[in-house]
Amino acid sequence: MTDLVLETRGITKSFGALKASDSIDFDLRPGEIHAIIGPNGAGKSTLIKQISGELRPDAGQVFLAGTDVTQQTTRARARAGLGRTFQISELAMEDTVLQNAVLGALGASGSVWRFLKPVLSDAELVTRAEEALDRVGLLDARNQRTAELSHGQRRQLEVAVALTLRPKVFVMDEPMAGLGAEGSLTMTRFLDGLRSEAPILLVEHDMDAVFALADRISVLVYGRLIATGTVDEIRSNAEVREAYLGEDA
């Protein structure tokens, strides 16, 4: 089982009486996009937070490329190759687009304890950052202040920062949130290309995107994984239709 890029075993987390994660076993294989869907408040973000290290599970373990990282910090997991994007953009709003990307490159290089040389004269970091910006189509905006970006551009920057880390696995919490119809399409195409680089754990409510992208889908309801399967299996699963999809899909 060591070829699993990411795995959780029996992850459990309670908030008071509420069980937000109830013994969740989840895995991510190389080269795949594995989507997690589920009603609002089902515990998707809570699961992601436990995978990324923002929250400690009450019980259970998280494995990253076969190593137990349950006790490790967010930081250590990032260094071990976990690239995460947030449901609500977490960016340094006063800084430029390039600076945000360089931050990612800097984190990956680990050479932050340098105090005198201007960071933007470090060709290696800047190249790495610009490459990532180029891939998401933000290179032209590199000197703009992040606060001036439109919503869609910020989502792209989120992804670019994750790209600079050259992660082994992407964990993305609702990357399409707030994107217009057109933006969602563009993002879908981009993620489709990304899967060859590293597998993606995708949490998303945009079913068009999920059905277009996912190799497998897991459904989370009230903290429990009630089903895992291919797009077609999930689409036709009565329980999933009732809890999540409605008559729509």
Binding site: P39, N40, G152
Partner: protein, 228 residues
């Protein structure tokens, strides 16, 4: 006379201008879709109407010049806002969020509870610990509790599960059918918008680029301005 009429509206964030001349009008009881790509000025238009940023041009609501009113008066005239990004009061409980700005009318805690039973379950939980979707429901409930004449929903279904999205669309339809509330809708789902809206206004670079009956919104037009 229209309930809300907006003519040649302009607005800026500091030195950068965001609106260059928006025209739109809403009749009583009408549902109007406000569309456009990301960053075209939809939310800025909404914020101008609610007087949350300074703007110029005509802003008339039921015969009152909104530009002469502070933000809270606008709301009391009967405009209820569900803002982009939810903006629930983090440290207040669900219940407190709902009643903080409530005004008497047909929407009460009970009727909101019927619309979103989940909120009733979380009545004493603080908004900050709600899930994204729960917060969205709360924001809608909160706006309805002000019992507005015009309800403005800026991306109200963002981040919601399909089944809840359907509930919200159903709720919007119900509001449209049962109460005389007019609705201004911003949403990315063209399919749903065309089902509930009477009219559509499309923004392009801060200007009204197209407006008309929803039935006249052809595939070409929407592809040109919205991308799909």
């Amino acid at each position: 006379m229209s309930l809300l009429s907006v003519e040649n509206l302009t607005a800026s964030y500091g030195v950068s201008q965001a609106l260059f001349g928006v025209d739109l009008s809403i009749e009583e009881g009408q549902v109007v879709a406000l569309m456009g790509r990301n960053g075209m000025g939809k939310s800025t238009t909404v914020k101008s109407i609610c007087r949350m940023i300074a703007s110029q041009g005509v802003l008339n609501f039921g015969g009152t010049d909104l530009h002469a009113q502070p933000s809270h008066r606008v709301a009391r005239l009967g405009i209820g806002l569900v803002p982009e990004g939810r903006r629930c009061f983090r440290d207040l409980t669900v219940y407190e969020n709902l009643i903080a700005s409530a005004r008497p009318g047909e929407w009460t805690e009970d009727t909101i509870g019927d619309l979103f039973p989940r909120l009733t379950e979380r009545r004493q939980q603080r908004a900050r610990s709600l899930s994204g979707g729960e917060q969205q429901m709360l924001a809608i409930g909160r706006a309805l509790m002000t019992n507005p004449k015009l309800l403005i929903l800026d991306e109200a279904t963002e981040g919601l599960a399909p089944i809840i999205r359907q509930e919200i669309w159903a709720a919007i339809k119900r509001i449209k059918r049962d109460s005389g509330v007019a609705i201004l809708l911003v949403d990315k789902s063209l399919k749903e918008l065309s089902k509930v809206s009477d009219r559509a206004v499309i923004l392009e670079r801060g200007k009204t680029a197209w407006s008309g009956n929803i039935t006249d919104l052809t595939k070409e037009i929407s592809e040109k301005f919205v991308g799909v």
